[in-house]
Amino acid sequence: MNENESMIVDLTLSLLALDDLAVGSIIDEIASEMTPLETAEYAIVPALERIGEGWVQGTVALSQVYMSGRICEELVDEILPPSDPDRKDQPRIAIATLEDYHVLGKRIVYATVRASGFELNDFGHGVKAEELVDKTRAEKVEVLLISTLMLRSALRIKDVSRELKGDDHAPKIIVGGAPFLFDAELWREVGADMMCRSASEVIEAIERVTES
């Protein structure tokens, strides 16, 4: 195992143990040799990706995913504050919980995306389809992240995708949440462009959109 890999393993284990002091210490050491953005990209993101993979496999609990995201978001805000020009504000990303009032999924994704150095707009929760379409157009969103817990809310995504797909610069719609974990075809049914099973998969998806 090389030094970089060893560092990511240590970081991942410290996050899973919710040891914010150990995490802080590891990040300080890394940040002394890399830029803040490199620290996010080469250390924090890989660690969160491993945690996300563990969540998908069922070996990591949602509470660990949430707390890891929270710890990382706080640390990255210290080394790469919102005003830092290195913060990535492209593509223009927004996130919302459609119809639901269950915000944990959105919170986790929001924290993970920010911990990766991206900025994003939070359109809130309990948002109706029409309102989400209006906000997406007004903010010229290029990547729209939609989180839902309830099946009926997931099915409402059809109303959003149908409206936005006709636009000249239609955003990519990435969906996630419990209903999508139980039906691998549901994201297609609702007209999304892709589905992510974990917050860390969202980072990969955003980077793919950026490159394309």
């Binding site: 609990a61 949430y66 009032y101 915000v103 099946l151 009926r152 099915l155 039906d183």
Partner: protein, 353 residues
């Protein structure tokens, strides 16, 4: 009703005694489909207990369901604490804004009184009516949300996790208040005629909480609450995984576990065999697009994995079948369990899942 050898109550109770009854019981959690039967919107349906009673009786008749559910919707315990519930035409009622917005509110939180909660009194009335109509033929199944899981609605899951990790003292106070309510609420339902209470506890599942944290929190709460209830319980993980904590759940004193479609039913059966009963684990989300062939296959797979030896009730994995699941699919599930679920399930020996 079809001429069967056992009543539904006999079938369910024999199963819970971990013996093989005449056939595997069908525990279809059709909490909303009754509204379509009686021609009402969901908000109208849940407005009066007699609507839900009529709906449940028709569901039993139509699908040969072995249970009657006095459960209305999951947000009702939160509603009793003063929360606002949103009603929809196409899904279960949902909790809206949290009632606990600041941690300090927990210091003054008191459990609601059952008799002063119109929403809870409706359920008690429905329970009484179901018991009157069904007599001893079918068990009436009530539900409580566990004290450990209720805060998802009371304060929002993210704020609840912050509370557990940052203010364990206040978390313990919240558990104390919620436990008093949960015990009173469950016992009131038993008194009204419920035969069994489902203890809904998704936050305890390993999907949401590590085993270490569960042992310090949800396990202690469940052990305390279940020991004070006046009747049997089944603990439901509401789609959450549970294999790493099955032994622990068994120690809480509960009689059964509602298990997830994300875990292998065969593996769960091996761990539970002879110790604790299983409900599950048909995938309710995928069920929305099942054909009759898909439904029969899913039922046969479940029966093959978990039916032998008793101790298993065929059900969905969430504890609430989506409104979008068609009557055709529900019929197919019912037919399949009546065709393939008769003990001794000899066909299982030759069957490949």
């Amino acid at each position: 009703m079809e001429n069967m050898k056992m009543t539904s109550t006999e079938r369910v109770m024999t199963t819970l005694g971990r013996k093989e009854p005449d056939r595997v019981p069908l525990a279809l959690t059709v909490t909303m489909h009754g509204a379509k039967e009686v021609g009402l919107s969901l908000s109208e349906y849940f407005d009066k207990p007699e609507n839900v009673v009529e709906g449940q009786l028709r569901m039993r008749e139509k699908y040969f369901n072995d249970i009657l559910m006095s459960f209305f919707y999951g947000a009702i315990d939160y509603e009793a604490f003063g929360g606002e519930v949103a009603f929809f035409d196409d899904g279960p009622p949902n909790s809206m804004d949290p009632i606990i917005k600041k941690h300090e509110q927990i210091l003054h939180l008191e459990p609601p009184r059952i008799e002063e909660s119109p929403c809870l009194m409706k359920i008690l009335r429905a329970t009484e009516m179901l018991k009157e109509r069904a007599g001893n033929d079918a068990p009436v199944v009530g539900v409580v949300i566990s004290p450990f899981s209720l805060p998802i609605m009371q304060m929002g899951y993210d704020k609840y996790l912050d509370l557990i990790f940052d203010r364990f003292d206040l978390f313990e106070r919240l558990m104390a208040v919620n436990s008093v309510f949960c015990i009173d609420w469950a016992n009131a339902q038993y008194k009204a005629g419920a035969s069994i209470i489902v203890y809904f506890d998704p936050v305890s599942s390993t999907t949401n909480t590590t085993r270490d944290l569960y042992l310090k929190t949800g396990f202690k709460v469940a052990s305390d609450v279940i020991s004070r209830l006046d009747g049997p319980t089944a603990t439901h993980m509401a789609s959450g995984r549970c294999i790493p904590i099955i032994d622990d759940i068994a120690q809480t004193g509960t009689a059964g576990i509602g298990v997830s479609a994300l875990e292998d039913l065969g593996e769960i059966k091996e761990i539970c065999r002879g110790r604790i009963n299983i409900l599950g684990n048909l995938n309710g989300i995928e069920m929305c697009r099942w054909t009759a062939v898909d439904a029969e296959k899913a039922v046969k797979d479940a029966l093959a994995k978990a039916g032998k030896g008793g101790g298993y009730l065929l059900s969905d994995n969430h504890g609430e079948i989506p409104f979008q699941v068609s009557d055709k699919t529900l019929h197919a599930i019912s037919e399949a369990v009546r065709k393939w679920g008769n003990y001794p399930l000899d066909w299982v020996e030759e069957y490949e899942v």
